[in-house]
């Protein structure tokens, strides 16, 4: 090779895009911000003819990531994920012929509608023949063998998990090293992890060697009083169960060590192959604390000597027991081939995984990525998966002993003796994820890349699990189910935007200061919505807004704290006595701001929102005793979360002078947030619809007019906003409507430097009480469940800072924070004191 050629080659290799990157570094050269929403929805389980109105599992996931190049070679990225799930999930499996299972019932709603449901029963009896096959009493045929197994479904209230992670990566000419870590937090499971991985390129960057290692530590603290779990026998875990406020909490810890090594090889101008081996060693508590195994106890003393007689089995549920360690090895191969006539890419993937629990799994996956026209890309994909069962998996098992027997000791006293757990297998589990099954899934995703460096992505996948799909067939068809996943994402490439911005400024003489000038009036307190406008036709702004509000402390009537006894006697109206009051409530909101200026004087905004809330109740002193048939909510916070309402807001400029600006917003809020969030059914009693404040939206179309003035002089800036919400419907699907709202704000601020400013804001808000009431069952146990205890007048003081990046790689990014401190509350009725609210915003306009 000549010297010139060598030099050219070296130079060419440094160009971005000429090196095949590994999956861990999918797009490391770009700084980017991504937002994604995903909905996971399971189909109803087959309960063998039993009609259940329990909603299947649904998960709403919000995911955001950001990546920035700190230097040419140093990249920092972070991610945040939040998912809220709820619905019915199998807790155990039981013979269909037993008296356990899902028992039908009917109930009448306040509207008069009669609905049917099913309650989970995990204990009961079953008659067996001498082969231990379950016997069912058939009205026509008499007693018949019925080998069918059925899932026992239990339902869960919404729960939210949050995960934050980061990664720092450094890139040399021929190598990359990344290290990262994160935390995942949910009420009953906390996990923290760290990892390091890297890539080494050699052979003219035609070959890359990859390696990685990770450590995860997780702690379970599961409350064993979820509905049917009260009836589960946790004998093997007695040493791991704490009692707190009448709750049984099962604790356990686990550790996971993982390592992987892989090789990516270019096979030619249009194909490459990637091979990886991964090893994971896990130890500790690996049980699913909400899954029980049905054990049918047969007391040998009760078996009749007559072989024609049946055997009576005592059906009990015992917490599953998995081994305390697991070693897994997985090998995967991916082949990527460019299909030149269509400019498409075919991705073929095969993975084989095996472990010392006896599970062998095969995965085949194929993606066809087809770029179309004008930045559109269509990707159909198909996947097949098959696994064998774990050695210790059994739908249910038998034990040749009495569950409970009484003996008379030497002193003549009667004693109850429970079963001997040593006579059960050392490990057993009925979780259908450990069964033998196969699955087939297929999906499609659609991407549209826009010229300014941002991209929209939408995907859909349908997945069906079937015992019969397993290699060689499976025997767990009772657990077959399906799900679909739909997702939408917005991806913003910041570096591309910067390049565009510079290009546009250069191409427009005299426009070089636009970026700075545009943001001279952009210092607006973080708590103000609809305060920005864009300068020129064609401008786009993308932003993210986070808000956190907390209520705790005293219950106030108007502005004054009241005693528990007054709350008991007066806060729930004339006919009902209150039993509980909120102890605290946290609300978090994530909002995406997408803004576009079709003309200079008109801006269009689209603002999807996601919310999550939690509330804890405390029992009131002097409360009346529990009514017969009622139930309490002791000690565990209620949570809800998911998609909230979506705001569509046109902003019209009325005045646009250098130091004075005025614009009006005439927008609407669409009722995309649900207003039928429920508390789970517990102890065979409906929880009912959850409190007004915990619903995710208003449930009505709302008109949201607003008027904003901003001014500036020298280093000072100021402004004011009038903002209202008028509900456009009489009631939502749950039978009520929220009160209307009016808010007035005024602020003043000072630019401390060219990138930092501080502001003070005064806010007055008035909100009406709720009209109407829930049209379905609500427990009505405290002031938060009554429409008259809603709304009021509020006075707040906001202290804020604004920062913008004036130059460098991150130029054009704006950040703002504001703390809103309540000065005075004047509530309608009885409500929980407010403690303040934090707003944080990021936005980028281009």
């Amino acid at each position: 090779m000549s010297k010139t050629l060598k030099t050219l080659t070296s130079a060419a290799l440094l160009l971005p895009g000429l090196v095949v990157h590994t999956s861990q570094a999918a797009d490391p050269s770009r700084a980017n911000i991504n937002f994604q929403h995903t909905r996971y929805q399971e189909g109803k389980r087959d309960l063998l003819g039993i009609r259940s109105d329990l909603n299947p599992i649904m998960v709403d996931t919000l995911h955001g990531t950001g990546g920035f190049l700190l230097t040419d070679r140093l990249r920092f990225s972070f991610g945040y994920t939040q998912d809220t799930w709820s619905g019915a999930t199998p807790i155990a499996m039981t013979p269909f012929a037993s008296t356990a299972g899902n028992k039908e019932f009917t109930r009448t709603l306040p509207t008069g509608e009669v609905v049917s449901g099913a309650s989970p029963y995990i204990t009961g009896i079953v008659d067996l023949d001498r082969n231990l096959d379950p016997l069912r009493q058939d009205p026509v045929a008499g007693r018949v063998v019925d080998p069918r197994t059925v899932l026992v479904l239990s339902t869960a209230s919404p729960e939210t998990r949050k995960q934050g992670d980061f990664r720092m990566g450094y890139e040399w000419d021929n190598a990359v090293v990344n290290f990262g870590g994160g935390l995942s937090h949910e009420n009953d499971y906390k996990s923290s992890y760290g990892n390091i991985n890297g890539r080494f390129d050699f052979n003219q960057k035609l070959t890359s060697l990859k390696w990685g290692g990770a450590y995860t530590t997780s702690a379970t603290s599961a409350i064993l009083d979820h509905d049917t779990l009260s009836y589960v026998t946790p004998l093997a875990y007695n040493g791991q169960i704490d009692f707190q406020d009448r709750l049984r909490i099962l604790r356990g810890n686990r550790q996971d060590w993982a390592a992987n090594v892989g090789l990516t090889q270019v096979l030619g101008k249009s194909s490459l192959i990637d091979a990886n081996i991964g090893y994971t060693h896990s130890s500790g508590f690996m049980e699913n604390p909400y899954k029980a195994t049905t054990v049918i106890f047969i007391d040998p003393d009760t078996i009749s000597p007559n072989p024609a007689d049946s055997i009576r089995g005592n059906v009990r549920a015992v917490l599953e027991q998995r081994p305390d360690y697991r070693n897994q090895l997985a090998i995967s191969n991916r082949f990527v081939q460019h299909i030149s006539p269509l400019d498409a890419a075919l991705h073929l993937n095969y993975k084989f995984s095996f472990d010392d629990w006896g599970i062998n799994a095969h995965t085949f996956e194929s993606d066809w990525i087809q770029p179309l026209f004008e930045g559109w890309t269509l990707t159909p994909r198909i996947r097949y998966y098959s696994q064998s069962a774990a050695d210790f998996y059994q739908p249910y098992l038998f034990s040749n002993q009495a569950f409970l027997r009484t003996i008379t000791n030497n002193a003549g006293e009667t004693q109850a003796i429970t079963y001997d757990p040593r006579k059960l297998p050392q490990d057993f589990a009925s979780d259908h994820r450990l069964a033998s099954f196969g699955s087939l899934s297929g999906g499609i995703s659609l991407n549209k890349r826009f010229a300014r460096g941002f991209e929209l992505e939408a995907g859909f996948e349908y997945y069906t699990r079937a015992s019969a799909f397993a290699f060689g067939g499976g025997n767990s068809s009772f657990a077959d189910f399906d799900y679909y996943v739909a997702n939408a994402a917005l991806k913003i490439g910041l570096e591309t935007l910067n390049v565009n911005q510079i290009g546009r400024n250069r191409s427009a003489p005299g426009a070089a200061h636009d970026h700075a000038a545009q943001h001279d009036h952009a210092f607006i307190p973080a708590g103000i919505m609809f305060g920005h406008t864009l300068d020129k036709a064609g401008d786009i702004m993308v932003g993210y807004r986070f808000m956190y509000a907390r209520q705790t402390g005293d219950i106030l009537r108007g502005s004054h704290a009241v005693s528990d006894l007054e709350i008991v006697n007066q806060a729930c109206g004339d006919l009902v006595l209150c039993r509980f009051a909120p102890d605290y409530m946290n609300m978090r909101m994530h909002m995406l701001d997408i803004m576009y200026a079709p003309t200079r004087w008109l801006n269009l905004m689209l603002m999807p929102q996601f919310m999550d809330m939690e509330m804890n109740l405390r029992p009131l002193e002097g409360r009346p005793p529990l009514a017969p048939g009622g139930h309490d909510h002791p000690g565990t916070p209620h949570a809800t979360g998911g998609v909230a309402d979506t705001i569509m807001m046109p902003l019209i400029k009325l005045l646009d002078q250098p130091n004075h600006r005025l614009h009006i917003g005439l927008g609407f809020s669409a009722p995309t947030g649900s207003v039928d969030q429920e508390v789970r059914r517990m102890a065979k009693i409906d929880g009912g619809i959850i409190h007004f404040d915990m619903q995710l939206g208003s449930g009505t179309w709302d008109f949201m007019p607003n008027l904003t003035y901003t001014g500036s002089h020298s280093q000072w800036y100021w402004g004011g906003q009038l903002y209202g919400v008028k509900r456009l419907e009489n009631k939502n699907e749950s039978g009520y409507r929220l009160g209307d709202l009016f808010q007035a704000s005024t602020w003043g601020g000072y630019r401390l430097t060219n990138w930092l400013a501080a502001s003070v804001r005064g806010v007055y808000t008035t909100r009406g009480a709720i009209h109407g009431n829930f049209n379905t069952f609500n427990a009505r146990i405290g002031p938060m469940d009554f429409p008259h205890n809603q709304g009021g007048q509020f006075w707040d003081l906001g202290i804020g800072i604004n920062a913008r990046v004036p130059s460098g790689r991150l130029v054009g990014n704006h950040f703002a924070f504001e703390w809103l401190q309540p000065l005075r509350d004047d509530f309608n009725g009885y409500q929980l004191e407010r403690q303040g609210a934090l707003s944080a915003t990021w936005h980028y306009s281009f």
């Binding site: 095949v20 999956s23 992890y193 090889q265 995984s353 799994a361 890309t377 991407n447």
Partner: protein, 72 residues
């Protein structure tokens, strides 16, 4: 047996490495976004998360972590 399989796998990989030579200016196709090993990382991330909570297979990527209990 497992160790020998692994060595064979590495050997074949290095053998393959020796048999191709694609000059940097001939890598235009390889550099296309849809030829990346994981062209849609957001989508694949969410899919792996769902499979991981419904199936028992192990992963060959240890860069992850977290993901929660998946106890439903």
């Amino acid at each position: 047996m497992r160790r020998s399989t692994f060595i064979l796998f590495l050997f074949i990989s290095f053998l393959l490495a020796g048999c191709v030579n694609v000059a940097p200016w001939e890598r235009g196709i390889l550099a296309k976004p849809h030829m990346a090993l994981d062209p849609q990382p957001l989508q694949s991330g969410i899919r792996q998360h769902n499979y991981g909570s419904r199936e028992s297979a192990a992963s060959t990527n240890s860069a992850g972590g977290g993901g929660g209990c998946g106890c439903f």
